[in-house]
């Protein structure tokens, strides 16, 4: 089994659904950071069977909003001086900029060039969002 050293300062994103690690890794832009960032796939988990895991060695703030959208079940551990100082469960963000795509062919965003379309949380249970322009419902 591959061993990855514990990090001193940074975050550990745990309990990622099997297979979603890579998506999270790219959406958070971790491939663009200078620091050590590790993606582990198919890690054995008692609770989940298999899971993905990400460790990032950085003190810089990373915008984690998108995480709740991709995989609301993940746990975020904040590590400072090798100590786990905070464990956080995620919620679906109330508003998402970009990432999602409006599928309504009659929506203005289908024909006009709009840099970032925002989506508002429509249904917490179903994890659906509504397009800011046409209100049509979408999900990731």
């Amino acid at each position: 089994m591959i061993k990855v050293a514990e990090i001193k300062d940074g975050i550990v994103i745990d309990h990622i659904c099997e297979g979603k690690g890579y998506k999270i890794f790219s959406q958070l832009g971790l491939d663009k950071l200078d620091c050590v960032a590790v993606l582990l796939r198919n890690v054995t988990s008692v609770k989940m069977g298999k899971k993905d895991l990400i460790k990032v060695e950085t003190l810089e703030k990373i915008d984690l909003t998108v995480l709740g959208l991709i995989d609301p079940g993940v746990t975020i551990n904040y590590i400072v001086d090798s100590k786990n100082i905070k464990k956080e469960k995620l919620q679906l963000p109330a508003k998402v900029d970009g990432i999602l795509e409006c599928k309504n062919p009659r929506c203005v965003c289908a024909t006009e060039k709009i840099d970032i379309v925002s989506f508002n949380l429509a249904d917490k249970e179903k994890g659906t969002y509504s397009c800011e322009f046409c209100g049509s419902i979408t999900s990731l």
Binding site: R106, C107, V108, C109, T111, E112, I114, E132, F133
Partner: protein, 310 residues
């Protein structure tokens, strides 16, 4: 700066103030003939419209302002591929307020995001038509002087009718209302909209106008379009259930009001026109006054008094 993009953009207090101003304008027309002197309204209709465009144009002209614009997008630079965002930026430098209709859902919001002057949505596809909702509400306020504890009957095509969807959403913000949805089962009011209703609005469905007309304070008729039915037989079998005529009017309350967003086809018999309870032409007229009030409010939203000039 405020825009009007969807019916719920205004708070209940703001709506009260708007309808009060519209009523003042209606009763004191001459006091407002110079209220918008020197102001220009750009009327950008990317889709044909008669009623709404004329209502807005007349509203601005009655306030003493000027109107520029088009009702045929093929004559504009949109044909040359200009983006809507650029159109909004450019027009905002010529005009003081923009009124726009588009077949594209969300187009008025996109324009508002890029405009330095207020934008009014005059209809964006099947999405919103907030000034129709304001005209409808103004009529209810004028006739009943309240928006609560009323029984509303919505009749006709309730599945695809944008007008009734918006009106229901607007009225369910008030307390103690009851809604009777009268439609064939194929054209029933969407459940997800009912689920979003507030303030304990009571809702019931009916498949017969005759069976429910006697309970209503307001009857809101809409067009039943032939092409919505699965077959010609279905249409012929059901269409008469949703036609309002003198015989059905005889079963209604003495003070029930009949509304219709117009244009009508055969669902509203012309014999009802002479009935004092018919309110649909009044509704069209009040629509103009509420648009006049809206233009004034968007120009000077923060003005506390219901002033007679801006």
């Amino acid at each position: 700066m405020r825009h009007l993009i969807q019916p719920t953009d205004f708070s209940l207090d703001e709506l009260d103030s708007l309808f009060a101003l519209a009523e003042i304008i209606m009763n004191n027309k001459m006091d407002f003939i110079e209220a918008c002197k020197g102001k220009i309204m750009a009327s950008l209709f990317f889709e044909p419209s008669t009623r709404t465009k004329f209502s807005f144009d007349a509203a601005m002209l009655r306030l003493g302002g000027g109107v520029i614009g088009f009702s045929d997008p093929s004559t504009t630079s949109a044909q040359k591929g200009e983006s809507l965002a650029d159109t909004a930026r450019m027009i905002a430098s010529y005009a003081d307020i923009i009124v726009t209709r588009s077949p594209r859902e969300g187009a008025p919001l996109l324009m508002a995001k890029n405009s330095t002057v207020p934008v009014i949505n005059a209809g964006d596809g099947v999405h919103h038509h907030p000034t129709q909702t304001l005209a409808d509400m103004m009529t209810i306020k004028h006739l009943k002087n309240r928006f609560s504890n009323l029984v509303f009957g919505f009749c006709g095509d309730l599945k695809f009718g944008r007008t009734v969807h918006s009106l229901f959403e607007a009225l369910s913000r008030y307390e103690g209302n009851r809604f009777v949805f009268i439609s064939p089962s194929e054209l029933m009011f969407p459940e997800h909209l009912i689920a979003g209703a507030q303030n304990g609005s009571q809702v019931s469905h009916s498949v017969s106008l005759e069976g429910s007309i006697n309970q209503l304070d307001i009857l809101y008729m809409t067009r039943v379009q032939k092409e919505r039915f699965v077959s010609e037989e279905e249409y012929l079998r059901l269409k008469d259930f949703f036609i309002l005529d003198e015989r059905k009017m005889a079963m209604a309350k003495k003070d029930m009001a009949v509304m219709h967003p117009l244009p009508r086809t055969n669902e509203l018999s012309t014999e009802v026109d002479s009935d004092p309870r018919s309110a649909y032409f009044l509704q069209a007229e009040l629509g103009m006054y509420v648009r006049m009030a809206l233009i004034l409010k968007l120009f000077e939203w923060n003005e506390a008094s219901e002033g007679k000039s801006i």
